[in-house]
Structures are given as structure tokens and as C-alpha cells.
Symmetry: C2
Subunit: 147 residues, 2 copies
DNA sequence: GCTTGACTTAAAGTTAACTTTAAGTTTTAG
DNA sequence: CTAAAACTTAAAGTTAACTTTAAGTCAAGC
């Protein structure tokens, strides 16, 4: 069993944030001794799931809903499974979006490398949007709306 | 040249947001006719870059800084190049984090598939954290801190 | 027993990124 | 010329996720 300070240290999360999560109902069955929170394995695993769901784009209120399902028992397995499935779809979409963002960033890096080499953007502007090197054309098209 | 309403439609961004961006200094040289904003190719490309930088995790105030560099001219090519390089690093890190998140989500989907098939988590709890199927073990380890 | 450090609470404050409101101006269609 | 649609502003309001503050309680070491 851990104190809030130890968990704060383990996860590199401020104790104030852990208290906030508790207030919001993310640690529904946490024990206390003399008013002081005791984090057990259940809470540590809950925190890993909280970080995962947060990273997937879920809001605190919806994570609270999930935690309530966990307390409710086996009748909510289906709902919980569905939640993770939906989060998977969201993260996969986010990954696709981030790859497009990366293409734009790579294009811009090439663009400024070229501008620096040339000393101006004149030649670049004359090349745009066609006449780009083939590998750069791909990056450009992918972040300027071409399918 | 486009009005704010046309750009709002094109990018599916509320006109109020475009005005907010303008107020924050993201369209530094935008023209007006009779007080009304005229978005040209420069502003449309700026908006594409804004969306990219936002998706990369950059804040509005830092995007404003970038736009100021663009107005400043060729002397800031190096700074602009460096900004995109830094954003690339941030996005690549975000991609790594999202892949770990996806591993956790896949593990949880398998976990609840199994719990549903079993009707309880008893057998699962007896399997954890070792004795998991090999392909599941990988997912589990990757999101429970094992290197 | 006393100090120190870690814990507790409720309530107020912070921040970023919008969003809404209210009042007014400009453009467009008839 | 007029009515409606689309634009304008400054200022206030919203939201999520914390974070800080103030005042107090608990546990450990000397």
C-alpha cells in the first residue's frame, strides 16, 4: 500500500492532481486510515488505465463512468469492452492525422533547407505547387488536400 | 480572395475562431476592404500551417511568433527551420506514446473478450502478470513499464 | 511533549482556446 | 430604397483540467 506522496513520485503526477482525480470519482473504492488515502494495487492499475484513457482523448467525466462500471461488476464487461474499442478507433484516427502532420513538418523542413541554400524563397515559389522533387511532391500533396 | 465565411466553410472552422486567430496576430498582413477581412492565398496557406502547428502541440502564442518571423523575412529562415525540426521531434514522441496507448487498448480489448467468454475475471487474475499468451504478453509488458 | 513533514479539506484561482453577446456596419438582392 | 445576410467590434462568458491557498490534522523522530 502507498501514500499519495509515493504514488505521486512513482507516476510523476502532482499529489494535488491525484486528489483531484479522487474528488472526480476516479478511485471509487480507495481505503483510508485516519482520513489518509491508501493506494493499493487496484488504485495503481486504475491510474495506469486513467493515463491510457486520457492519452486516448477521453475526458475525466467519461473515465469516471468507466470506473463506475468496474465497481458495478461483470454485467458491464460489454460496455467496458465497447469503450476500449471506441478509444482504439479514436487513437488510430489520431495516428493517421499525426502522420499527415509529420508530412507537413518534413515538407517545411525541406522548404527552409532549400530557402536557406538559395538565400530566398523565389525559386521555391516558382516550383510550387508542381515541379517539386518527387519525394517532396508526395509530402506536399499529402498535406495540401490532394487524395 | 475569400471572405471569412468562405474560409470558415472551406476549413470547417467557425468564423469566430478565425477572428480570434486574427486578434491573436496569426494573420499579420491580411488585407481589408471597408473593414472586412479579405483572405488571400497567403492567409489560406497560413491557416494550413496553423492547423499543422496546432496538431503538433504548439500554442497560439508560439504560432504568432512564427508568423512574425515570416513577416521579418529571410533572416529568420534558420529560426523557422528550427521550429519545424523541434515540432517534428515532439510529434515523433507523441507517435511513440500513442503506440503504447494503442497496445494498452488492445490488451484491454483482449482482457474483456476473455472476461466475457469466461463470465468472470477470475481466470484472468490468475494468469496475470505472467502466463499470458505470448502476443498478449508483449502488449501487457509494453504498457506496464517493462523495457 | 514538541517540532517537522506529509497528509487533509473546501474553495478560490489559473490557463488556453475558444464562444457568445450586444450593438453596430457593410454588402447584396429585389 | 430597403430588407436581409454577412460582416464588424469589445467585452464578457465558457470549459476542462488542473493548481493554489488557507486552515487544519496526523505520524515520526528527538
Amino acid at each position: 500500500m502507498y501514500t499519495i506522496g509515493q504514488v505521486s513520485e512513482m507516476f510523476q503526477i502532482p499529489a494535488s492532481t491525484l486528489r483531484y482525480y479522487d474528488r472526480e470519482g476516479l478511485f471509487l473504492e480507495m481505503e483510508r486510515t485516519g482520513g489518509i488515502r491508501r493506494f493499493g494495487e487496484r488504485e495503481v492499475e486504475a491510474l495506469r488505465v486513467i493515463e491510457c484513457l486520457k492519452a486516448s482523448g477521453l475526458e475525466i467525466r467519461d473515465i469516471k463512468q468507466f470506473m463506475a462500471w468496474c465497481v458495478e461488476g461483470p454485467s458491464t464487461y460489454g460496455l467496458r469492452r465497447q469503450l476500449f474499442e471506441t478509444r482504439k478507433k479514436a487513437v488510430e484516427e489520431e495516428l493517421r492525422q499525426l502522420h499527415k502532420t509529420l508530412d507537413m513538418l518534413n515538407f517545411k523542413c525541406w522548404y527552409y533547407d532549400t530557402a536557406i541554400a538559395d538565400g530566398s524563397e523565389d525559386r521555391l515559389n516558382a516550383m510550387l505547387p508542381d515541379k517539386l522533387p518527387p519525394e517532396i511532391q508526395k509530402l506536399y500533396d499529402n498535406c495540401h488536400g490532394k487524395e
